[in-house]
């Protein structure tokens, strides 16, 4: 399941850009590979991150995985539902299971992201 209207990274994050802010999450492929998600270390609001830098950590019973910022920006909002119910990411990774929102994004960085078609090819080869 790869929504066409999103952009992706090679590390399996997705991003949805609206005006100058971006919503970020992990792909269905990623949540499936991680298994039952047990904890999400969310970034601090107001933190400035650079593209492809560490943003969050997702822990599952199997492993702890770093989540990277698909774009540079400032953390505007984090998903409060994940504190008590991190499994929301397993249930609805493209909707209720979003991780955080970034503001002040730079549009030119979008060129380094993958289209839905390119991402589909990437996971088909993994």
């Amino acid at each position: 399941m790869i929504p066409k209207n999103l952009k992706y990274t090679e590390e399996h994050e997705w991003v949805r850009v609206e005006d100058d802010s971006a919503t970020i999450g992990i792909s269905d492929y990623a949540q499936e590979a991680l298994g039952d998600i047990t904890f999400v270390e969310l970034p601090e609001i107001g933190k400035q991150v650079a593209q492809f830098e560490d943003l969050a950590v997702i822990e599952s019973v199997k492993a702890a995985s770093d989540i990277y910022a698909p774009l540079s920006g400032k953390v505007l909002e984090v998903n409060p539902a994940l504190e008590e119910a991190p499994e929301t990411i397993n249930q609805d990774c493209y909707g209720e299971g979003w991780i955080c929102k970034l503001s002040g994004i730079v549009e030119t960085e979008m060129e380094k992201l993958l289209s839905a078609e390119a991402y589909e090819k990437l996971i088909a080869s993994e």
Binding site: G35, T38, F39, E59, V61, K62, A64, P86
Partner: protein, 146 residues
């Protein structure tokens, strides 16, 4: 029937506080440190008996305990355990425990600080997790066998 992999099995054994070879037990730990005294018969002769007698006479420096963490974030194998900011032990296993809704760990702490209620800090990268010694098993509703 449903498939259950190593992750599921490891969660179940950890909630019961069972030690696993390669984690809680290895060639650097004696059965006394790992809490396995009931399985050691010092009346019999066996390889390592002298070393165990010597350790018992000289005192044991660390012992295995169950640690209940404050939140859901897991402390994993090898994470340092601190007391008053000073490293004093090490986590041997850790995971989120679905039956408890909290993360739990097994780990070695100073022998004299194994009492339930003793609090430690576990260092996870740049974060500090708070943990408290609790009696084992973590999961107290028994097993299918007993």
């Amino acid at each position: 029937m449903e498939p259950a992999g190593l992750g599921a099995r490891d969660t179940l054994r950890l909630e019961m506080g069972y030690p696993l070879y390669g984690q809680e037990m290895d060639e650097h730990r004696t059965p006394f440190e790992a809490g396995l005294d009931p399985y050691v018969k010092l009346k019999k002769d066996f390889i390592g008996r002298d070393a165990l007698l010597r350790q018992r006479a000289e005192g044991i420096s660390q012992g295995l305990v169950g640690l209940l963490l404050e939140g859901r974030q897991a402390a994993r194998h090898g994470f340092p355990i601190l007391r008053d900011g000073v490293p004093c032990g090490e986590v041997t296993s850790g995971s989120f425990a679905p039956s408890l809704g909290r993360a739990v760990s097994l780990g070695y702490v100073p022998w004299d600080h194994r009492a339930p209620g003793t609090r430690f800090e576990i260092r996870s990268g740049h974060r500090a997790l708070t943990a408290e010694v609790v009696p084992l098993p973590f999961y107290k509703k028994g097993t299918v066998r007993a």
